[in-house]
């Protein structure tokens, strides 16, 4: 109710300590911080597209840059955060996409499970099509 909002809203002074007050808050912030790594990695890949457009030598330099220790650390952390984002995202699908058949709702575990299954199949398909194995 935006029109009912006070003109002098109460602003609570909050530091960062609330994050550690409950494991649930810490898990929430871990999930939210995944955006830094997913966004950062995506921007890096935009730079990769530039290198690809610039020609074979620039692309080769990009592939070499992927191998630096710092970028390997970044990619490993990104992989962890990205997988955690996927896990939390699919775990929420029963609430986001409830499916009703007749009188009954499809069990949440089935909806989330279907998403996890598609995620696994898609990942294997992408790895296979990319020639990773």
């Amino acid at each position: 109710m935006a029109e009912g909002m006070s003109r002098k809203p109460y602003l609570r002074r909050e530091g960062l300590s609330w994050i550690f007050r409950h494991p649930r808050y810490l898990r929430y912030m871990t999930r939210e911080f995944s955006c830094l790594f997913i966004g950062g990695w995506t921007l890096w890949m935009v730079w990769g597209l530039k290198q690809l457009a610039d020609g074979p030598q620039a692309w080769f330099a990009f592939l070499e840059y992927l191998k630096s220790p710092a970028s390997i650390v970044f990619q490993v952390i990104t992989l962890g955060f990205a997988a955690y984002h996927s896990y939390t995202w699919f775990k929420l699908t029963p609430q986001a996409l409830p499916i009703q058949i007749g009188e009954d709702f499809v069990p949440g575990a089935a909806i989330a499970g279907a998403h996890f299954g598609v995620w696994a199949a898609l990942s294997i398909a992408v790895l296979h099509l990319a020639g990773a194995f």
């Binding site: 911080f33 990619q75 490993v76 990104t78």
Partner: protein, 113 residues
């Protein structure tokens, strides 16, 4: 922010959250394999250049970039609020503009491939 703006920022966030949930881990795995010297065939210059030479692949790549950056920007905006930053209009403008700039850059680079 006016209530009517919400679906416009939230729609791409939800779509991007879904796209990144399905794709980002396996794509990071591909660059990580390359980083460990086991370069997947698709990341060889000729293969990737030929693949992204096709228009459907260009459109798909640009869409993935836009949705990934937008959902990250939106989530970072919320996180800034959670961390006590109350300048929401400035934060939102900066982050959404950054996501759009990144997506625009990807379109320019893809057009040159």
């Amino acid at each position: 922010m006016a209530i009517s703006n919400k679906p416009i920022v939230w729609g791409p966030f939800a779509a991007g959250g879904t796209v990144t949930a399905f794709l980002t881990p396996v794509l990071v795995l591909l660059t990580l394999l390359a980083a460990f010297g086991h370069v997947p065939d698709v990341l060889a210059y000729e293969r990737l250049h030929a693949l992204l030479g096709h228009w459907p692949a260009k459109v798909l790549a640009a869409a993935v970039v836009f949705l990934s950056l937008w959902s990250a920007a939106h989530r970072l905006r919320i996180t800034c609020h959670d961390l006590g930053v109350r300048a929401d209009i400035a934060v939102a403008t900066l982050l959404y503009a950054g996501a759009l700039a990144g997506a625009a850059a990807s379109v320019l680079f893809l057009a040159r491939i």
